[in-house]
């Protein structure tokens, strides 16, 4: 059409061309508007694909973006900022999840169990941050493939370096230095990652002083994955950590030894079968995944003070083998699986201390578990995950534990959830909930004197997504404990069977999480917990357990600018219960040799306790901030950081000691960590 018009104008009076001009059909490039494609965030995908009641998945990067603790990115401390989790104080290894006791949490590394993953009596988590890809955290109603604990499952997943060539990072900060290395191979299907960390305050003291600092801790973590022949995907995880305190007492010529640590090695193998695989001639799905796992996990604690005046040992060995077969089709993901476990425990302490009892316990548990799980998608609005787990514990009987989670999509962005589950646990800690400092858990197994503990969870909730990066989740929950045990504070070394006291109880509450996934500028979350816990002892006396914190709020945020990342965390928490001491006395010792009374040979006064946990410590609040220079991502990049814990030095008291020896008697308030600035630097390549 354009050609004809031009011809007419040029000729002026010329007539139209004799033949019609065919339209020009030569393909020409066209400019289209920009189309941006982004993958949906895993968190959103999980929202659509699974009920995930009480479940949070969070990447190692997001957790590391939270303000540092003593200058270090501490994954386990950051987990405590999530909804449903209450940490008693800065000096406690325990996590109380939705009203549960601190030994009710199953901590896994790539699905393999770890006991006591903490250093320095709870001040630091033992996982090396660069090795962490993400953390999957069930705060209740976990699926049937998980068992052995009552409250939660925390699965720390190792990072996998996707790039070929060796890449790494060095982090040097106030307490320690961490080195991590990794590389990808097999075109990204395989990778290896290793990391190590060690404190160096002891080495520093050797350089600058004649005094010795006889303490250090170190970690080593490794993960390898590759594709073996026959398309079998292999994963190998190794982990080792130790805290080491050995030295000479300054006031006597005695040595003292205190060390503890974990060792873990786990192997997984997985193979996918496609094109309608058959099992015994039957088809259950379009594809199937067969997986097998074995692990060997050890924990050991060894203390010997003052020529064996005080000794404490707690070796734990945990061997497991498990496997599952999962069939997938458009309606169902069906899994059947098994787990065989063998745990050996030994605990002996020759003198009671506040943090642990004097006792001697040797036991072992062997268990065989079967589970079945079906994720059913009956329509686009419903997700139903139903299953059951059966645990048979040798000599203790079997426990059938049904599990059910349901999600109903009101709209594609709004869902209502509900869950029910029953749970059993046959590993117990001798640490007491009423003691506000929890340096370690001292693990023993179940036997006739420490029966299997049981719990039931009821959960209902709502989850709403606002686009792809923001979500709000509100859940309410009730937990019933028909069978629990707690450590007997008066157990005797010579008396068999008095280590534990039986309890029953319940907890209920709710938690809210408003979460912003990273949009390149801001990421963070608001987590609010409300929890109410009550227990009853064998005498029928009701009391609030030591972890009964009613309200807790955590605001966590990190802002990414052009060069700097600013992070903050604000915490507000109401107080936990404590037992007041209403008096103090000294025991009169009867000297049978001379038939006379003497003051107690021990100068330790005895305390007269008031009603158990009848009072509460004051509320606590704290602000932590950190400032990190962004790495420039080119070759070797430096990233210094500065962080301040407890910016305005809030006086947060978590315990009281009472002294009736002075005039007038005194109450001493024990404070959490004060303001603490630290600096460090991270070098990556």
């Amino acid at each position: 059409m354009l050609r004809r018009a031009i011809a007419i104008s040029m000729i002026g009076t010329a007539v139209a061309a004799q033949e019609p001009v065919p339209p020009d059909t030569t393909p020409r490039p066209q400019s289209l508007p920009t189309v941006t494609t982004t993958a949906e965030r895993p968190e959103k995908e999980l929202f659509k694909a699974r009920p995930n009641v009480g479940f949070v998945t969070i990447t190692g990067k997001e957790l590391a973006a939270a303000p540092r603790f003593f200058g270090e990115s501490d994954i386990l401390r950051a987990v405590r900022l999530l909804p449903g989790v209450n940490a008693r104080n800065d000096f406690s290894v325990g996590m109380n999840v939705r009203g549960g006791e601190a030994d009710q949490n199953l901590v896994l590394l790539d699905g393999f169990p770890i006991y006591n993953p903490f250093h320095m009596g709870g001040l630091f988590g033992a996982f090396v941050e660069p090795m962490v890809d993400r953390v999957d955290f069930f705060t209740g109603a976990f699926p049937a493939r998980y068992g052995g604990r009552l409250s939660s499952v925390l699965d720390v997943r190792s990072a996998a370096e996707p790039r070929s060539g060796i890449h790494g990072r060095v982090d040097a900060y106030f307490i320690a230095t961490t080195l991590s290395l990794g590389s990808g191979f097999q075109g990204g299907e395989g990778s290896w990652n290793v990391a190590a960390r060690r404190t160096y305050a002891d080495k520093f003291m050797d350089l600058v002083s004649d005094e010795k600092l006889p303490y250090h801790f170190r970690d080593a973590q490794a993960h390898v994955r590759f594709v073996a022949p026959a398309d079998v995907r292999i994963g190998i995880t190794g982990y080792s950590n130790v805290d080491h305190l050995i030295g000479e007492a300054t006031f006597e010529d005695d040595t003292f030894i205190l060390d503890w640590g974990n060792q873990l090695v786990g192997v997984s193998a997985e193979k996918t079968f496609r094109d309608n695989p058959r099992l015994f001639g039957l088809t259950f799905g379009d594809s199937a995944v067969l997986s097998q796992r074995v692990s060997h996990s050890r924990f050991n604690l060894n203390m010997d003070l003052w020529l064996s005046t005080l000794t404490l040992n707690n070796p734990v060995v945990d061997n497991r083998a498990s496997g599952s077969l999962t069939f997938y089709n458009n309606r169902h993901d069906r899994s059947i699986g098994y787990e065989l476990g063998a745990q050996r425990y030994r605990y002996d302490a020759n003198f009671p201390a506040v943090l642990y009892p004097s006792d001697s316990v040797i036991n072992a548990n062997r268990s065989a578990s079967l589970f079945f799980d079906d994720l059913w998608r009956p329509s686009h609005r419903w997700l139903i995950q139903a299953g059951a787990r059966y645990d048979q514990v040798e000599a203790l009987g079997g426990v059938l534990q049904p599990r059910l989670s349901v999600k109903y999509f009101v709209t594609p962005e709004l869902a209502i959830t509900g869950a029910y589950g029953e749970f059993a646990q046959w590993a117990h800690s001798l640490a007491r909930e009423d003691v506000p400092i929890r340096a370690l858990d001292f693990w023993v197994g179940s036997d006739e004197r420490a029966p299997v503990s049981r719990a039931r969870h009821f959960i209902a909730g709502v989850e709403r997504w606002f686009g792809g990066l923001r979500a709000l989740r509100v859940e309410t929950w009730v937990k019933q404990y028909p069978s629990l045990i707690e450590q007997n504070p008066y157990s005797a070394l010579q008396v068999y069977g008095d280590e534990f006291l039986k309890l029953t109880g319940y907890s209920y509450g709710g938690d809210v999480m408003l979460r912003q996934l990273s949009n390149g500028r801001f990421a963070g979350w608001l987590a609010y917990n409300f929890a109410f816990s009550s227990r009853r002892n064998e005498q029928g006396m009701r009391f609030f357990p030591g972890h009964d914190r009613r309200h807790e709020l955590n605001l966590v945020g990190s802002w990414t600018g052009r060069r700097w990342v600013r992070s903050m965390r604000f915490n507000f928490a109401t107080g936990t219960p404590y037992t007041v001491n209403v008096g103090q006395f000294n025991r009169r010792e009867y000297d049978v040799n001379f038939k006379r009374y003497d003051f107690d040979a021990s100068s330790f006064s005895q305390f007269i306790a008031g009603p158990r946990n009848a009072l509460r410590v004051p509320l606590a609040q704290r602000l932590d901030v950190s400032l990190t220079r962004k790495p420039d991502g080119q070759g070797v990049s430096w990233s210094p950081y500065f962080s301040v814990m407890n910016v305005y030095n809030a006086k947060n008291y978590f315990a009281y000691f009472f002294n009736y020896n002075d005039v007038p008697p005194e109450r001493v308030r024990i404070q959490q960590l004060p303001v603490f600035p630290t600096v460090g630097v991270s070098v990556a390549w």
Binding site: F251, E252, W306, L307, T309, P352, V354, R432, V435, P489, Y490, A492, L493, Q494, V495, Y578, T579, N581, V582, G583, Q584, F585, R587, R588, E589, Y590, D591, V592, N593, F594, R596, Y597, D598, F599, A601, S602, S603, F604, Q606, F607, I608, A609, G610, N649, K651, F657, F658, Y660, V663, P664, P665, E666, R669, I670, Q671, P674, V675, F676, P677, T678
Partner: protein, 261 residues
């Protein structure tokens, strides 16, 4: 790093506040010793301040009842003697004047302090005869090189056993070292260098060490074995009436004596 440490140290001073509301309880120490003629029950108030006088409770009615129904009324001796400030009141009865204690027997304690609830307690003496050897040979014992080893037969009714070590000055007979004890089963191995948690030696060179292994009842074991626990408090008292302390019993099963060097 120094600045950081300074901040930390400056903020670590624990604040202290006075306590004005304190509870006062009756504290009872009553231990029946099958090897002794004199049996004592000590009564006092728990301290509200360390300088409180008249801690000892006088004017109480203290009785011990035998399984046969015999009642011994304990009294302060000499009569009307007031305990020194800070000391308990000692209520005494002599088995030679009332009734002998019997192995395996159960005895009841009752204490009535004017204006206070009645206090009762029960103890069953371990079922064995006491080792009353008075001709125990004094053996040499080197603190640096020797280890004390003792074994004895189990005693029916004993909840546990305790080895008590008392030091006596060889010349000043009335000068004693604070007695030390360790709970054990039917055997004890105590090195010469053993110390208690305060760092006091069990055996002090130059002193005569009197060592006695005791069979103890459950009340005694529960009361003395427990360590000081500021979170749970002392073990629940087996005494009624809100009193704390114990009414227990012991029987010596083995004695030894050493010249400690």
């Amino acid at each position: 790093m120094a600045l950081t440490a300074t901040f930390a140290l400056a903020a670590c001073e624990p604040p202290v506040e006075p306590i004005f509301d304190q509870e006062r309880r009756i504290l009872v120490h009553g231990i029946l010793d099958l090897s002794a003629d004199t049996q004592r029950v000590m009564l006092e108030w728990t301290r509200t301040t360390p300088s409180a006088s008249n801690v000892g409770i006088v004017g109480a009615t203290v009785r011990i009842t035998s399984p046969q129904g015999q009642i011994a009324t304990l009294a302060i001796r000499p009569p009307n003697a007031m305990p020194a400030p800070g000391d308990p009141a000692r209520y005494i009865f002599l088995t030679s004047e009332t009734f002998p204690l019997q192995r395996g027997a159960t005895y009841q304690l009752s204490v009535q302090v004017p204006g206070e609830p009645a206090i009762t307690g029960t103890t069953t003496i371990p079922d064995t005869n006491p080792n009353n050897s008075v001709t125990v040979r004094t053996l040499p014992f080197s603190v640096a090189h020797d280890t004390l080893r003792m074994t004895w037969r189990p005693v029916r009714g004993a909840a546990g056993y305790r080895v008590m070590v008392s030091g006596q000055h060889p010349v000043q007979q009335g000068a004693f070292l604070t007695t030390k004890g360790v709970f054990t089963d039917t055997a004890a191995v105590i090195p010469g260098t053993m110390q208690n948690l305060e760092g006091s030696d069990f055996f002090v060179p130059g002193y005569i060490a009197h060592v006695t292994a005791l069979a103890v009842d459950d009340n005694y074991l529960t009361y003395y074995r427990a360590a000081a626990d500021p979170f749970a408090g002392a073990p629940p008292s087996r005494l009624t009436g809100g009193a704390i302390g114990l009414f227990g019993s012991i029987v010596p099963v083995q004695r030894q004596r050493f010249n400690t060097q």
